[in-house]
């Protein structure tokens, strides 16, 4: 939701007169048209690349489709007839050809599985006309104070180019909920109401407007009571998740310019969008359990493979995806793998990697799919719940065997894909120096590490108070793992809930972590802390925290520090 002064865009579109050229000028007109088409195609391809980087491949594809229209044989032959036979000027030919296409699509009416709307076609028209007529003054570029854009319609590319620092929200008369304009706004997390109907006549630039995207409401010139009420709601929402709206596109670096890579934890392929939308540098933990749950048979290699590819295509190039192999207990598993007798102590029993190593066909099927996916993107593999060195070596041996099989069958994979192990059992944390020689990276899973270190189940109320990631024993284990990894040049990150709690961010950075993997929702608040921190500051905080002798003291100390670093933040820790 947003409240601010209206910026009403000129409701009049460019009027294109129906003019003809002399027969002798037709060739020149055709050349002019094709120059504009080529320039438009080039520009749309650039938009595709830029939006793919910013919001993900799915959104970039919208502009990829636009680019293709400039070369569409049916569209080109329509234009050709209009210019060569009818001798219309290029501008008129374009607007007429586009209008005919719009009408053809509109005839399909509610057959709206075509995620293609007149908005896209007008986008295409505007692009070509811009190159034919020359750039008009773009009112959206000159916005200096935060405003709410009100327009007859916005094309998908106009929406994508809205500057999040000055545009608070927008509302349009035309367009639909499923239009690409609405889809873009959603991906940009820009409050928007699309297709309000006729309302611009009643607004002047400067009027105060409220746009509540969630409710689909636009209020023009609210009275004092309404305004006060909406301000209260807005501030309440902002205090929870607000600051990141401003900071979402800023890099994750400390005040002294040390980059801290933030990766997303995901469970379902769809969540990759939530990561890219919040500027995650990749997926640091892709849990694959969902593939196994709620079914009577094991997932096939193809099912694994397809799920992985979806995440790869969503994340786009240059962003790593760490796939964690199956990690849950036999008790939650499909019938066939359930132990004959219930285990007395499942969390200390056959679960996770232990289950996989007892059922190598099941395990190898997943390894094969991960390796196959590695041919398509920066895929990395990670083994969970390793507790001893021989266990890790068994995994590496099996992985090598699967690679050999793939090689013999001529199936593509990346032979040098990075291999990592989770550090979530205290024995693994203690043996980190030895484990570091075998793998490329560690990921510290604090949830299990805390549970196993303190021997406390946090779902058991009677002992839940023992469970705390701030416990000095846990902190020491984390510190020793980070140090061991550093000595061997092994990468290291934290992927438990601890890394998603901004309260712990200074502590983790101070302990030497330069990479964190967290739930997409937590990316913004954690980044906000990083951007208000220097490494020296963080190191001092970590050193001080390490001298304290109880979880409670550590939490209280971190809360005091946070008040200093980021006074407007709330929540987190044990509050």
């Amino acid at each position: 939701m947003a409240i601010g002064p209206a910026l009403v865009l000129d409701a009049e579109g460019v009027r294109i007169p129906q003019k003809r050229v002399l027969p002798s000028q037709v060739e020149a007109e055709v050349t002019r048209l094709h120059t504009a088409l080529a320039a438009s195609a080039f520009e749309a391809t650039q938009s595709q690349r830029e939006i793919t980087q910013r919001l993900g491949a799915k959104f970039g594809a919208i502009f990829g489709a636009h680019a293709l229209i400039f070369e569409d044989p049916a569209f080109l032959s329509d234009l050709d007839v209009l210019v060569r036979k009818e001798r219309f000027v290029a501008e008129y030919a374009v607007s007429r050809a586009v209008r005919e296409l719009v009408e053809a699509f509109e005839k399909e009416g509610e057959n709206s599985f075509l995620a293609w709307r007149s908005g896209d076609l007008y986008d295409i028209e505007k692009r070509i006309l811009k190159h034919l007529i020359g750039e008009r003054r773009d009112p959206l570029r000159d916005v200096h104070e935060p405003s709410i854009v009100l327009a007859r319609d916005l094309t998908p590319s106009e929406t994508a180019s809205l500057d999040r620092n000055s545009i608070l929200a927008f509302a349009t008369e035309h367009g639909g909920r499923t239009s690409h304009t609405a889809i873009m706004a959603n991906a940009m997390e820009l409050p928007a109401v699309v297709g309000v109907g006729h309302f611009l006549a009643d607004v002047t630039s400067g009027d105060i407007v409220i746009v509540d995207g969630a409710e689909g409401i636009v209020i023009v010139g609210p009275d004092a009571n309404v305004l006060a009420q909406y301000r209260k709601t807005r501030d309440a929402r902002l205090s929870r998740s607000g600051h990141w709206v401003v900071e979402r596109n800023l890099p994750s670096v400390t005040l002294d310019s040390v980059p801290i890579t933030l990766l997303g934890n995901i469970e379902f392929p769809d969540e990759a969008t939530a990561c890219t939308a919040r500027g995650a540098g990749g997926v640091g933990l892709y849990r694959t359990e969902f593939l196994y749950v709620g079914r009577d048979s094991d997932p096939s290699e193809e099912e694994h493979f397809r799920a992985y590819l979806r995440v790869i295509s969503e994340m786009g190039e240059g962003r790593p995806i760490v796939i964690r192999t199956l990690d849950f207990g036999a008790d939650k598993f499909v019938e066939a793998h359930r132990p004959k007798e219930p285990e007395k102590n499942p969390s200390l029993g056959v679960r996770s990697i232990r289950l996989c190593l007892r059922d190598t066909p099941l395990f190898c099927k997943q390894l094969r799919a991960i390796l196959r996916a590695s041919a398509f993107g920066d895929v990395r593999i990670m083994f969970p719940m390793i507790s001893t060195l021989p266990e890790l070596r068994k995994c590496l041996f099996l992985l090598k065997e699967v690679m050999e099989d793939l090689r013999e069958s001529g199936i593509a994979f990346k032979p040098n894909l990075p291999i990592g192990t989770m550090i979530e059992v205290p024995s693994a944390a203690i043996m980190a120096a030895e484990l570091a020689r075998e793998v490329d990276f560690f990921s510290i899973g604090t949830n299990d590490l805390v549970q196993y270190t303190l021997a406390a189940d946090r779902t058991n109320e009677l002992v839940a108070d023992l469970y705390s990631p701030a416990d000095p024993a846990v902190l020491r284990l984390i510190k020793s793992v980070v140090d061991a990894a550093g000595k061997h040049g092994t990468g290291v990150n934290v992927c438990g809930e601890m890394s998603g709690d901004p309260l712990f961010t200074p502590l983790l950075v101070g302990m030497g972590l330069r990479q964190l993997s967290l739930a997409p929702n937590n990316l913004p608040p954690v980044k906000a802390v990083i951007r208000r921190l220097t490494v020296a500051d963080a190191e001092r905080i970590a050193a001080e925290a390490m001298t304290l002798d109880s979880a409670r003291d550590v939490i209280n100390y971190l809360l005091r520090e946070r008040k200093r670093i980021h006074p407007e933040a709330v929540g987190g820790g044990e509050e």
């Binding site: 594809a61 489709a65 044989p73 049916a74 699509f105 979806r310």
Partner: protein, 111 residues
């Protein structure tokens, strides 16, 4: 994948006489923007020209807009027809692409 390829005119044709196949749309979202875009790109890689027909409506395989205007929902039967030098090679590939289960599958095929 069930693509029935009916080479009614014998195996050596295609250069001058069209090759045909019936293809069923399997994508749950129909032949929407993304698959149409990918099919148009794929078709442009071949020498041969092709059309896709739904009853009385016909689309050039290389025209994304015409493909979309077929408004082919999941389950729609379409008649694929290709003519030209490499028609024999192109037909099964195009048929498979049109019958892809999802844009993701299609993307893989094109890689």
């Amino acid at each position: 994948m069930s693509v029935t390829i009916a080479m009614e005119n014998g195996p050596l044709l295609g250069e001058n006489n069209p090759l045909q196949a019936m293809v069923v749309i399997r994508n749950p979202r129909g032949l929407h923007m993304r698959p149409a875009m990918m099919i148009a790109r794929l078709a442009a890689k071949y020498q041969c020209t092709g059309t896709l027909r739904k009853q009385d409506r016909k689309a050039s395989l290389r025209s994304m807009t015409q493909l979309m205007l077929l408004a082919a929902l999941q389950g729609t039967e379409l008649e694929l027809e290709v003519t030209g030098e490499d028609a024999q090679v192109a037909l099964p590939i195009l048929a498979k692409a049109i019958a892809a289960n999802s844009s993701e599958d299609l993307e893989l095929m094109l890689k």
